[in-house]
């Protein structure tokens, strides 16, 4: 009898160890390619590393410089502007489409087709998107200006990409166009996870579409919304590829209005070899994103974590 149970215990122990074995490859690679660079960057942010040679410790000098540099704050402001408009458009559109497609009265066909179509812009490489929109938005003869003028919406062409007042928002719109499909898929998945019973009960009780949306759909979508919100926040505040390609460099033409924080970081890390300073910028951004994520989390969930208000 005794030998039997020890035999079983051994098997269990073996299975547990097997688990660690399966997880090990990922953990090792993760440690090397994710954790190590993060830690090293943190270390470098306290030095004056120039990309080669010795890294001399300089204490908090880099951080002081970041916080006092007016160009950093300008970049942060630009990033916030671009991201703000982007997120409203992106989530707004995604939410609108979700409502349309999840309506039980008018069952819209072809959800799969539409989902794929809306996701398509996300599949185009950023370089192609940048080139496409640069051509469309060309100041005198681009298609968009042509259409708006011929339909009488505008009298004279607007220099979308050349004036500091419009350029950042143009980037927001393009980015929203690229990513709304992604948000839409997330939200639809979330909605489809809501039991039909709630909607039917609401329909029986005579609740209008708006009431259903605000009292049933939105609250039950909170976890997904939070996920979409936070990932958009992280991605948006780190935006680099689109503004870099459209403005053609890290300067954020015109007049630095499209220079995001990561473009500013890139200029120091890779164009002027001030890697220590760039590392500090990266960590300041990290702290900002962290704080905003926590704020967002608290806002969604109130004081009690995990409770769906």
């Amino acid at each position: 009898m005794a030998s039997d149970t020890t035999g079983k215990k051994k098997k269990k122990k073996n299975l547990n160890n097997m688990g660690y074995l399966f997880v090990a490859p990922f953990v090792i690679v993760f440690l090397i390619f994710n954790i190590y660079p993060v830690v090293r960057t943190f270390y470098l942010s306290f030095t004056d590393y120039k990309g080669f040679g010795e890294a001399v410790l300089s204490g908090g000098a880099n951080y002081a410089r970041v916080l006092q540099d007016k160009f950093f704050w300008r970049a942060l402001g630009n990033t916030a502007k671009i991201w703000g408009v982007n997120i409203v458009l992106q989530l707004g559109l995604a939410l609108l489409l979700t409502i349309v497609f999840s309506d039980i009265k008018y069952k819209i066909r072809g959800l799969t087709v539409f989902r794929a179509l809306y996701y398509l812009p996300n599949l185009i490489a950023a370089t192609s998107v940048a080139f496409l929109f640069k051509t469309l938005l060309d100041w005198r003869y681009g298609t968009i200006n042509q259409i708006m003028m011929s339909t009488g919406l505008m009298k004279s062409p607007v220099n979308w990409l050349g004036s500091p007042g419009t350029a950042p928002y143009v980037i927001s719109v393009i980015s929203a166009w690229m990513w709304f499909g992604n948000s839409f898929i997330m939200l639809m998945a979330g909605v489809q996870g809501i039991s039909r019973d709630y909607f039917e009960a609401a329909a029986i009780d005579g609740a209008g579409r708006f009431k259903v949306f605000t009292k049933i759909t939105m609250p039950l979508l909170k976890p997904i919304m939070l996920y979409v919100g936070i990932t958009s926040l992280i991605g948006g505040l780190q935006m680099f590829d689109l503004p870099f390609l459209i403005s053609g460099g890290t300067g954020g033409a015109p007049s630095g209005s499209t220079q995001t924080v990561v473009m500013y970081l890139y200029k120091f890390g890779f164009e002027t070899n001030q890697v220590g300073f760039a590392s500090a910028i990266a960590y300041v951004l990290f702290v900002i994103i962290l704080v905003l994520s926590i704020v967002q989390f608290k806002a969604m969930y109130g004081k009690n974590k995990g409770e769906v208000a």
Binding site: F22, V29, K50, N86, A126, T231, Q238
Partner: protein, 468 residues
């Protein structure tokens, strides 16, 4: 059972690797706005050519920016059949980054790295190049063989020789002889040089030409190579001296007083101007926009550009574009000595084939026979070797009215002073150019533009002292 275990482990391993590969971008890219999903590895701007036999004993890897070295490689393996050279040509915009990645990653190839002057200072500081003054290279033995400024550019800030070039690229004013005869009564290069001797004279020359319906330059950018050699940074302080301010004023005047054709360098219309007349356009027309240019052409007004400011490689550019105007161009002296570009070759500090690399480097830059061959092969490139330049001193170039260009460029090259260049020059130069652009277009007042300029320098290089 064992088979299942093995396959399960293998599958887990593959998954782990792929997870980690996209895990570094993965967590972020799955949601939200804008992760840099794939800033495409622009392999299409890279071309690889192999010279020599496949089974050659020795192999050399050369990374370059211009296809010239392909031809040098081919020529080299003709006399060295036991060597194979692989030349990778990378677009200049990508070149510093690619080299940086390779060197930071401690790669053993490439063996030969090149650079254009504006890239070199950083590369020296980063330690990418081998010290060529030491044994067995002893580059200083060849000091008297090449034009002086080439040695200067090739040295790092401690005076150690790191790179050498086979070219010299002094700037000159390429002017139309027929227009010169008509407007100034002479087409002699020395006399025309007088009309370009300083900025004030240039403005007067511009007015004279304007009255006769010509434009002195395609754009104010043509004076770029003649902005002088004042140091931007002296003893850690930013130095914006009178010469720089005069240059800014020159550009502003040329632009605002309507003396240029508003045709940017390297646009299609710019090339057109080398062969004859171009449509008249105004400040707001973009010369890069096809439709706008077609509209301007329809209007029918045309003008001709009198001169281009180009370094010696302009000889080749213009030769390819002058068309029927061949023979009607000449080259004169500008208000300052200047130069731009030139391929400087060095040995990678990490190379394992330094001796072979040095042999190839010497072949390309210090061997008179090679350079003689190159003058023929390139049909007119100006080389750095003094002996060869002497030999070709009396070569007359028919495109330029039989002017003796090698003699001219040698004289110009001797006036170049490289000692005041700093590693900050590129960023400062770009910011200065931006400031000039804003003021000339009337977007900002001079004071505001200067303040922006100072702000930019302070922010980018906090170790430079800025006095406003």
């Amino acid at each position: 059972m064992k088979f299942k275990k093995v396959t399960a482990l293998a599958a887990a391993g593959v998954m782990a690797l792929s997870l980690a590969a996209c895990g570094s971008g993965g967590g972020k890219s799955s949601g939200g706005a804008g992760d840099s999903s794939d800033v495409a590895e622009s392999k299409s701007t890279e071309k690889t050519a192999v010279a020599g036999k496949k089974d050659a004993k020795e192999k050399l890897v050369v990374w370059t920016l211009a296809a010239d070295l392909n031809q040098f490689a081919d020529h080299y393996v003709e006399s060295h059949p036991d060597v194979q050279i692989e030349t990778v040509t990378i677009a200049p915009a990508d070149y510093p980054t690619k080299v940086q990645t390779a060197m930071r990653g401690k790669q053993k190839t490439p063996d030969i790295i090149v650079g254009e002057p504006q890239m070199l200072d950083e590369m020296y500081e980063a330690g990418y190049f081998e010290d060529l003054d030491q044994d067995p290279y002893n580059a200083q033995d060849y000091k008297d063989d090449i034009v002086d400024y080439v040695w200067d550019v090739g040295q790092d800030e401690d005076g150690v020789q790191r790179t050498i070039s086979y070219q010299i690229t002094p700037a000159g004013i390429f002017y139309r002889r027929d227009i010169a005869q008509e407007v100034f009564g002479t087409e002699d290069p020395d006399k025309i040089g007088e009309y370009f001797k300083d900025y004030d004279t240039i403005l007067q020359t511009g007015e004279t030409l304007k009255e006769k319906g010509y434009k002195i330059f395609a754009s104010d950018g043509e004076m770029n190579f003649f902005s002088g050699d004042s140091a931007w940074v002296v003893d850690g302080k930013l130095n914006v001296d009178q010469a720089r301010k005069d240059y800014m004023d020159l550009c502003i005047d040329l632009y605002q007083k309507d003396m240029t054709a508003y045709v940017d360098s390297w646009s299609t219309t710019w090339y057109q101007a080398m062969a004859g007349s171009v449509p008249v356009i105004d400040k707001d027309t973009s010369v890069w926009d096809e439709k706008e240019m077609k509209e301007a052409e329809k209007k029918g007004d045309t003008t001709e550009v009198f001169a281009f400011g180009l370094p010696s490689w302009g000889v080749l550019t213009m030769r390819d574009n002058v068309g029927d105007l061949s023979g009607k161009w000449g080259v004169a002296k500008g208000p300052n000595y200047g130069f731009s570009g030139g391929t400087f070759i060095g040995i990678s500090a990490l190379s394992e084939k330094k001796d072979l690399a040095w042999d190839f480097l010497k072949f390309c830059t210090l061997d008179p026979d090679t350079l003689d061959w190159w003058i023929d092969k390139s049909e007119g490139d100006v080389v750095s070797n003094l002996e060869v330049l002497e030999k070709h001193k009396d070569d007359e170039n028919p495109v330029y009215g039989n002017e003796k260009l090698y003699q001219f460029f040698l004289e110009q090259a001797e006036g170049i002073d490289y000692s005041k260049v700093t590693k900050y020059d590129k960023v400062i130069g770009d910011a200065w150019g931006e400031a000039i652009g804003k003021v000339k277009k009337g977007e900002k007042s001079k004071e505001d533009a200067m303040n922006d300029f100072y702000d930019e320098i302070e922010s980018t290089y906090p170790d430079i002292e800025v006095d406003r």
